[in-house]
Amino acid sequence: MIYDKNQQLVKMINQIAVNNAYDDDLERAADAVASHVRKFWAKSMKQDIRSFAEAGGEGLNDIAKAAVNRI
């Protein structure tokens, strides 16, 4: 497996998103994901995912994209 740090973070936050995607309510889901990331991710990981999103955020699902802005 080829390792890519950003891809790892994308995979993680997308996974958090699909596990919090209840009711298809994007706003609420994004809040839940952002809250989870705030509570459990290290500072450096939060910074990295923010920079990655700002640079286009390819591969982030919709909820994850919305969540990154709220971290």
């Binding site: 497996m1 740090k5 790892q8 993680m12 596990n19 209840y22 290290a42 450096s44 990981m45």
Partner: protein, 961 residues
Amino acid sequence: MIEYYQPQAGQNLAFADIDLGTPAVNSDTTVTMSVDGVEVTVPAGTSVLRAAALAGIQIPKLCASDNLESFGSCRLCAVQIEGRRGMPASCTTPAEEGMKVTTQNDKLATLRRNIMELYISDHPLDCLTCPANGNCELQDMAGVVGLREVRYGFSGDNHLDAEKDHSNPYFSFDPSKCIVCSRCVRACEEVQGTFALTIQGRGFESKVAAGQNEDFLASDCVSCGACVQTCPTSTLMEKSIIDQGQPDHSVVTTCAYCGVGCSFKAEMKGNQLVRMTPYKGGAANHGHSCVKGRFAFGYATHQDRLTTPMIRDSIDQPWKPVSWEDAIQFAADRIKGIQAKYGRESVGGITSSRCTNEETYLVQKLVRAAFGNNNTDTCARVCHSPTGYGLKTTLGESAGTQTFDSVMESDVIMVIGANPTDAHPVFGSLLRKRLRQGAKLIVADPRHIDLLKTPHLGEAIHLPLRPGTNVALVNAMGHVIVTENLENQAFIQNRCDTALYSKWREFIAQERNSPEASESITGVPAAQVRKAARVYAQKGNSAIYYGLGVTEHSQGSTMVMGIANLAMATGNIGRDGVGVNPLRGQNNVQGSCDMGSFPHELPGYQHVGVDELRKNFEQAWGVDIDNEPGLRIPNMFDAAIEGTFKGLYVQGEDIAQSDPNTQHVQKALSSLECLIVQDLFLNETAKYAHVLLPGSSFLEKDGTFTNAERRISRVRRVMPPVAGKQDWEVTQDLSNALGYPMNYGHPSEIMDEISRLTPTFTGVNYQRLEQLGSIQWPCNDDHPVGTPIMHVEDFPIGKGRFVLTEYVPTEERSTRRFPLLLTTGRILSQYNVGAQTRRTDNQIWHDEDVLELHPHDAEERGIRHGDWVGITSRAGDTVMRAVVSSRMQPGVVYTTFHHPGSGANVITTDNSDWATNCPEYKVTAVQVERVTQPSNWQQRHQEFDQQQRHFLNSTTAETGG
């Protein structure tokens, strides 16, 4: 024998060292009787033998023991009862109101002497050279009854030439000494539940036989030691005692193997441990044990133990033995250098779930206070972190709800993704006892686990689900409970957040969550799921016990919450016999989590981001603590490969073997500039280290462990540390060298600090532990003697919170390239990475990891039992021997990870639980094929291993260490 540690109070402990003859009886009514004129009041149904013992009168006995039902075979315990004829056996005679019992007079004395005379007429008179000499009930009874002659002579028919059986590595069976009291047979049935022993033949031909008259090793015997423990002669005797003689003193301590946390007496001669015997006063085990705790302690004195601190600049260099001071200074300089160059966040630490609470607390304190960041984590990350997350979210506390004994009140026992008879054997025995009494069993597991083969088990429901589909299954059960109106509405209305409940109800009732809809996902017939749900919801007290088969999934946390939802919906929380019970893998997983090992939580699960909680610690420790969580173990690996994480302090954990995707871990460890490993042995991780600090085994230090039922028990030092320091002293030295002062004189001072800072621990201190024997947290002003059952009145978060548990399939699924699903687990004789058990005679049972597969999958690939097979996943490949087994379902293969060379974790992937990053060990898509040679990784690993051993051995040879 001198016994250190005399408990001062507590029901469990008052008679911990006296055999009361027959088991305790629970009854609401009591009877009062007199024994030799002494009045005694006991629960109705108690035997006269026990009543007498409680009154302080020991009636002679041989076939009776208070962990076995009365048997009435030896007749030595005969008594006379006023108004009754004859001399009944007191063990089988229930105490009655007003009964007047005489335990000693001339008639009784003659009877007892005659009985002993008969016994001894067929018993060797080699007491002086017998290993039981000095600790033999038969000898004691001969003395007590005053046996002076054997009128029958010794020339008649006898068993003195019976053949010995030495097949078991830990104990011998010498039938010439056997008095056929059946205690061993009954212990195997009643205490252990294995039924491996029997009495073969009748009358004079009667003899104890293992299995179908096999030797012990070939029989079903699991070497728990219960038979050896109960044998009143030297018929069943530990080989260590045969070799070394009887111990001269003993110390009560806590086992360092699994999360059951059994109490043992470490029986010593000087500083030598000669035997571990389970302690009757231990509230987790009540005098029972398993092959690991009872016998597998030889690792502590194994020649592989590291005895000298060592350092080196890079991992391709030999080790240089140095003094403790030099090693600590070298480590501190390196860490400071790295932080100066790469920043404060570039280093971290991993606490051990095998070390004590006090040691774990110190390591996380060192990380937060001396390193100045929150990069601390523990191996619970890779096992029960989803339990912490899931139970805290739903029930408000990151811990199991029950005490082990609670299972004896259960009517339905549901076991999900756990294999208690292998991984938690002593609790497994208790569970089997309850199943024999008629409790219903539901097992959700891809494999047909041994619990389903419990002798005298009634009908059990097995839900053989596909790996990775737990959440679909638990949702289907929830669906049945809701749509068939099986909920406990009173509990929900009183105890739960009803708005959240309504949302959950609406979600779970949807058709896609029905057993019929999820049958194609889980592979479990809908009718079976419906039946299981009805049994769980309707048959009285229902308890769920679960293990890593729940947590180690991409939806591990979701599954934990799904389980909590079921328990809340049916009101199975807050009393004996019910609950949600994680079975913890390692001895102190619960403790390491409690002690603030996680990067986001301070001790007592207090989040670093909450100012008022963090402030308490900042004040007590005199430092600023980062208010952001630190890196978790897998994040540390990623950051190491990225180049931002350069230094790691690992205490008592072997991440290079136990963590998934081995090649990724190896790459990460190779990227570090300073890896400090503190361990008993040169483990896989230590081969990548720059500083080796010798660890101390549980026999060499003081402290506490916390087991799966939140029970804090004392670990007591019985011998000096092999390398001179207890683990907590080493951490303290490192902290001081880093410039953050620590000055603890004894682990009790560390516990005092913990209890000042942790609301659930305020009542815990060593003095109270001495008094009570053990304490289940929360222990504070509200619960001064601890809390066996949680959530009785309310939840710590007020109302229980239902959580929506949408099933999200794992990305890891079988494909044409990888058509099988691999799941991993444990076996009875080995423990975790095997560092301890591989250095004992337990190897005889499992000296290599094997791949179990279903006959159909084997046949399709031309694989026969014993063939070498290559196992390939997208992460890597390895080679093991095949075992064809119908325990497996087609399409699923299974292995263990106890041996480093088998590389089970080379195959497991970087998939993990969405909430906690707990690795998905239980689902890996693989292909399996016949091969003729080890994998490339194994060949590389072998070379590397040889080189690193050479670096160590050449060093120790030079120094004569």
